[in-house]
């Protein structure tokens, strides 16, 4: 009897389980408005003129891009349907997707692609994209849906660059119509069209009915709200003022996880945080002195305390989200004895004193480093600066040591070349090592990923040996959203692609 009853119960449970498995739990509902809380407002809606990381959030939903990246960092075609690399990486042939329309009704085709490249390359526009696509020598229209990009030298990161702002296609008709006001009147081919932007209040985009991917997007509307204060933004999330939150303070992550109705997703980001040591200014002209700092810093403690256990310690410009990270390398742990030996080797056994410049938001981290350096006899003073001034000092090499981060790029080249190559555009520490230049150039022109990985392992080791930068930390990429938000795919680049997102409640 008891056995029979159990059988029935099991049967009922099994059928409930079956029903749960087949029920349209994941079926996504159409319609609704998603409200996203941002850390800052957009600066411009023109991707060819944008320099702020935050701008890309809206762009990814308004603009179609030639390529995109997937969760595994693979390059996937978007406005390009298929592509071929010829002549040993010197020629790229893009077959474009047909039937794609801009929000203003104009057609997307090869002429438009060429015009976009010409626009980015036009010196008069002074576009920040110009240096990103510098390897592209010529763009040729082969037929209405085929373009050819001729390169001056093989450049492996090209497609990766075209997954970001350089690959975003703007409407020629709209640029010609609005001219300088295009910055407030964007027209792309993305799943959402721009509606209005009331600066510092909200930016609204609505579903584009002519979007080429049938059935997408699900949402009717997305509203971006800039809420600069982290605590207030988190409160807005907890009280249901927003459905989705970008950028949460590490101290709030535990509370977010404990809060009912909220989902927290935490993955490795593309960021690196570190200290720039000016290689042309004493005492950091001396390699052993730079190495002394390398060994004096305890990155694990910083990760635990300043970042509340989020993210990972950094020993190179490559975070764990990248295939280029060399996980076999271990010579980055704190070693006070070695640090002292290096100080002696550099002729400063009694220590020395220097000033590091940084943002007020990084003071806690810098104070931890300060204490760690003090242990081995180095006296680090902290000078807090506002971001604009910090950037100005960085660019004019006006620092001995300077604490700043890099938001990262999907291709490892974008995290390393500009900083470590003697001719790199972001090499403000004026570091120069011919061997390093050679490795970085080789990794840039090599098409095979396994070979590139080996090259970047060497880059990691030489960079650790020379210690022009003291890499400290790779941030975690954390997003918080309400349980009623479905279908968000979290990728390390941190972009909120809302095309596949839907809402439970209407």
């Amino acid at each position: 009897m008891a056995g029979w009853r159990r059988m029935v119960l099991l049967g009922v449970l099994a059928s409930v389980g079956f029903w749960l498995a087949t029920a349209p739990a994941d079926a996504q509902v159409r319609g609704g408005t998603l409200r996203i809380g941002m850390d800052a407002d957009n600066t411009t809606m023109d991707p060819h003129l944008s320099t702020a990381a935050v701008d890309r959030q809206v762009y990814n939903n308004v603009y179609g891009k030639l390529f995109d990246i997937d969760a595994k960092f693979g390059i996937v075609p978007q406005l390009v349907q298929s592509w071929e690399v010829k002549s040993g990486g010197l020629l790229y042939v893009f077959k474009l997707r047909r039937g794609v329309k801009f929000h203003d009704g104009t057609d997307f085709n090869a002429d438009i692609v060429k015009w976009n490249f010409d626009r980015m390359r036009d010196p008069a526009l002074a576009s920040p994209r110009r240096s990103e696509i510098a390897p592209v020598k010529d763009v040729k229209v082969v037929d209405p849906y085929t373009v050819e990009l001729a390169l001056a030298a093989p450049y492996a990161p090209l497609l990766s660059v075209l997954t970001d702002r350089a690959g975003m296609m703007v409407s020629k008709a709209a640029v010609e119509k609005y001219k300088d006001d295009y910055a407030r009147n964007p027209v792309g081919t993305g799943p959402f069209r721009f509606v209005e932007w009331v600066k510092d209040d909200h930016l609204t985009i609505k579903r584009f009915d002519g979007y080429w991917e049938k059935g997408l997007p699900y949402l009717d509307e997305v509203i971006y709200r800039p809420i600069p204060d982290q605590s207030v933004r988190f409160t807005a999330m907890r009280t249901g003022q927003i459905d989705f939150m970008h950028q949460i303070a590490p101290k709030d992550v535990a509370a977010a996880k404990a809060e009912k109705g909220l989902k927290v997703s935490e993955i490795p980001s593309l960021w690196w945080q570190g200290i720039h040591l000016n290689n042309q200014v004493a005492p950091f002209t001396s390699k052993p002195i730079r190495q002394a700092i390398w060994y004096a810093v305890d990155r694990t403690v910083i990760q635990r305390v300043a970042y509340q256990g989020l993210g990972t310690p950094a020993w190179s410009p490559f975070p764990s989200s990248m295939w280029a990270q060399d996980t076999d390398f271990s010579d980055w742990r704190r070693d006070p004895a070695k640090a002292k030996a290096k100080l002696a080797e550099g002729g400063m056994a009694n220590g020395f004193s220097f000033t590091v410049k940084g943002l007020p938001a990084q003071v806690q981290e810098l104070q931890i480093i300060q204490a760690q350096l003090k242990d081995v006899g180095m006296d680090m003073k902290i000078e807090q600066l506002e971001f604009g001034k910090l950037l100005a000092d960085l660019n004019s090499h006006n620092f001995v040591a300077l604490r700043i981060g890099w938001s990262g790029r999907p291709d490892p080249d974008g995290n390393a070349h500009a900083f470590l190559h003697s001719k790199g555009g972001l090499n403000r520490v004026r570091y120069s090592n011919p061997k390093m230049d050679e490795l970085l150039d080789a990794a840039r022109s090599e098409g095979d990923q396994a070979k590139r990985k080996a090259l970047y392992a060497q880059v990691t080791r030489i960079a650790a040996e020379d210690a022009p930068y003291i890499w400290i930390h790779h941030d975690a990429e954390v997003k918080v959203w309400g349980e009623h938000v479905k279908g968000f795919e979290h990728i390390s680049d941190g972009m909120i692609r809302v095309k596949g997102v839907s809402l439970d409640k209407k």
Binding site: T43, T51, A126, S131, V232, T235, G388, L391, L426
Partner: protein
Amino acid sequence: MLQLIGRRLLATLPLLLAVSVVVFSFIHMLPGDPAVLFLGEEATPDNLARFRAKLGFDRPLVVQYGDWLGHAVRGDLGRSIRTNQPVTQAIVERLPVTLRLIGMAMLISLCIALPLGIISAVKRNSGVDLASTFFALFGFSTPNFWLGLILIYVFALVLRWLPPSGFDGTRSLILPAITLGTALAALVTRQLRSGMLEVLRQDYVRTAQAKGLADRLVIGKHALKNALISVVTVIGLQIGALLGNTIITESLFALPGVGRLMIDSVFSRDFFVVQGVILFLAVGYVVANLVVDILYSYLDPRIRVH
């Protein structure tokens, strides 16, 4: 009266000119290059140079100033470096939020300060007086951002009565207005208390009381009106502080007001916006003080004669 207003307005012209010179030179002295902030860290030197030339930053400062002033007097404050939006349009868009915020802050602070100030003067050294002293001390020494965070925690997160951020009508301005107005309420309470105490000692008050006039009339008509002169002075002077504090309050509560416009453009070195907003605020301050002067002559007929 019209003559007074005309004379005062004329007198403000040199003042505004001086403000414009100071603002212009200060922002150009600021470290941090708008070209670098706009074009990004990777900007090449020739891109930077082209950008500066496009905005006219390669010309001598005096020429730049003259050019800007020439347009400003015709009501053209230039355009944002970033969004190309006309600066006047940006200010006009945000003005309603800031004006409502300041208006509500003043209203709230007067609603608190008037009764509290009067009662604590009339019932000197009573429990109410002590409480008001404590309130004044607390209100005046509490930093704006901290008070705002506490209010958000209590009223938005715990009680869920009011929204924590954004501009969505009067309700959304209650917490920011309390944040902004508390210090003013504290100051006015103290000012009114001492003003009342002084007036209550005057002969004419004693006369009025001796006549057998009701307390309500003695305090409300004879004493208060005279004590208010100093209160109006304080409010006039504090308008500048209120305008300044909107920067913090608007940023904290994510309100799209003039204060936030200013601080954001300072951080991004959007020179034309900063210059425009500060000039505009200077005009606003001058006008507010003019209103205060007119109020004086209403409260104190002796001023009208001069």
